[in-house]
């Protein structure tokens, strides 16, 4: 598998140097692997910190900026970052109003953020953590690591970010973030596997004419393999999987997310099918976002995330945001 890289070992550092030149509004500490908005800490504002393995760009580094994250901590490709990064980020963004860690539910992310929270508190930073776990392909039981955090992370970071920007307290921002988590569910599908620089070959074998249902964003295989389906059938399947676990009584935010390797042309067509199913199921749509936001390197495929949005969440969703990956308003 050919990649646009120098050597696998420097992929993340190289990307951080690129982010630095493309986004002068961010401070990129390549050595420590922390990306911080340039005006941090913002006086009186709760600091939002997220992070996780690299390979999901624009998540998380591309969501640092006004109205979203204050800092992001990128790990190696598909490997959660180490506590030192989060501790440093927390120190950089804490204005005294406390810091919220937004953590995708993977054992590695959970453990590293947990250690970081302890260390940061030792240094006098007040830290709250919110776990994002939206992927209905994984059952949330005692006998699993629980639902994965995937597309809903974007909703949580955006909405919590807007609240923090407005000056909400740490408890309030954390409560809103938890509400978004509870209101959001996702389902993902792969048409082809991704290739990590370290491995250099596709992470799983997907024969021609088959697709993988219920994939995560780390190139893990899914739970079921089926003969290839049309966009229409995939939309039916994914939306129904989400609705089996989320019964929206309010209009939903819809994220039609590309995994990285699927052309935007196809993704828009898929978005139309998602809207069609939602209409057929009687679910009204408040807002729709289509694009490559929570990716899995060059994986071909898509995911659907729904978030049932009350008026407050909707207002915060619409609030201005200015990051490399998400921008509107003002």
């Amino acid at each position: 598998m050919k990649m646009l890289i120098n050597v696998p070992e420097t992929v993340v550092d190289d990307a951080l140097r690129g982010i630095a030149v493309a986004h002068p509004e961010l401070v990129v500490d390549v050595g420590s692997r922390v990306v911080v908005r340039r005006d941090a800490p913002v006086a009186g504002k709760v600091g939002l910190v997220s992070g996780g393995g690299s390979g999901h760009e624009p998540l998380h580094c591309g969501f640092v900026g006004v109205g979203m994250l204050d800092a992001a901590c990128p790990g190696e490709v598909f490997t959660s970052p180490v506590p030192d990064q989060m501790v440093r980020a927390a120190a950089a963004v804490d204005s005294g109003a406390g810091v919220l860690f937004l953590v995708k539910n993977y054992t590695g992310d959970v453990l590293n953020f947990q250690m970081a929270a302890e260390l940061a508190e030792d240094e006098g930073v007040r830290v709250e953590s919110v776990l994002v776990n939206d992927d209905v392909a994984v059952t949330d039981s005692l006998h699993t690591a629980g639902r994965r955090g995937t597309g809903a992370t974007l909703f949580v970071e955006k909405i919590a970010g807007a609240a923090a920007e407005e000056g909400a307290s740490l408890d309030r921002v954390a409560e809103l973030a938890r509400r978004v988590v509870e209101s959001s569910r996702s389902f993902g599908v792969a048409l082809g596997a991704c290739t990590t620089p370290a491995k250099g070959s596709p992470m799983f074998d997907l024969p021609a004419g088959e697709l993988e249902l219920g994939v995560g964003i780390h190139g893990e295989p899914g739970r079921e393999r089926r003969p290839m389906m049309t966009a229409r059938e995939i939309a039916d399947y994914a939306v129904d999987a989400v609705l089996a676990d989320l019964n929206p009584r309010q209009p939903v935010l819809v994220l039609v997310n590309g995994m990285g390797g699927t052309p935007l042309l196809e993704l828009y067509g898929f978005g139309a099918e998602v809207h069609r199913v939602l209409g057929e199921r009687g679910v009204p749509v408040a807002r729709t976002l289509v694009g490559n936001y929570v990716t899995s390197l060059d994986m071909a495929g898509c995911s659907v995330t729904l978030c049932q949005a009350d008026e407050e969440l909707l207002r915060l969703w619409d609030a201005p945001v200015q990051t490399p990956g998400l921008r509107w308003g003002r």
Binding site: T79, S80, V82, T107, N112, T144, T196, K199, P221, R223
Partner: protein, 207 residues
């Protein structure tokens, strides 16, 4: 069990042998992880143990406990993923339990490892049988009562025993029943770690 006193040099050797073994087996660990995980376990530990050796060589700690707590801290700071905090905690807690003694007995090491392994179980919320590193570590500590060689043997068997198990913790648990039939990468690297301990002990005897 031999009553040889195990000094800081012994523990430094353990870590050096472990690092070499992880380096050698990195591709295999990553392959195992790609079958049921995200294909990074080998490179994660390679990066971590390389950093461990570097820091231990730069400023070799003077006591067994300090060797292991330093190594554990270094793993936490460089590995990431699930295995970083878990292996880091294993070594740190084991090292803490060894205290400040200049040398320790094998029995003291076994007791310390017990508390290290328990800390891993607590941090990970996991138990033997979940198809994780605990399936190699837990029987290894038991077998250490007999000998280092027996511990290595038990860890290897424990790793192999994860093949028919359904994973219940970590990334592999997402696969549900599809995780059955694969050897857990963390259990495999744990077997390497314990084998490295036995090899360090062999070298000690040969001295």
């Amino acid at each position: 069990m031999s009553e040889t006193a195990l000094d800081a040099g012994f523990f430094l050797r353990w870590m050096t042998v472990a690092a070499a073994s992880v380096d050698r087996e990195a591709a295999r660990l990553t392959d195992l992880d790609s079958a049921i995980g995200d294909a990074d376990h080998g490179s994660n530990l390679q990066r971590g143990f390389a950093a461990v050796v570097k820091v231990l060589e730069a400023e070799p700690p003077q006591t067994p406990g300090a060797v292991l707590t330093t190594a554990g801290r270094q793993l936490i700071s460089t590995v990431g993923g699930a295995s970083g905090p878990l292996y880091g905690t294993l070594l740190r807690r084991t090292g803490k339990a060894l205290g400040e003694a200049a040398s320790v007995t094998a029995d003291e090491l076994r007791a310390a490892l017990r508390s290290g392994v328990d800390a891993v179980a607590q941090l990970g919320g996991s138990a033997p049988g979940d198809a994780t590193m605990l399936d190699a570590l837990d029987p290894a500590v038991e077998a250490l009562a007999a000998s280092f060689a027996a511990a290595a043997e038990a860890a290897g068997q424990g790793a192999e025993a994860t093949v028919p198990l359904q994973a219940r913790k970590g990334r592999a648990s997402y696969l549900g029943e599809r995780s059955i039939g694969h050897q857990d990468p963390g259990a495999t690297s744990s077997a390497l770690l314990i084998a490295a301990l036995a090899e360090a002990a062999d070298q000690e005897e040969a001295k």
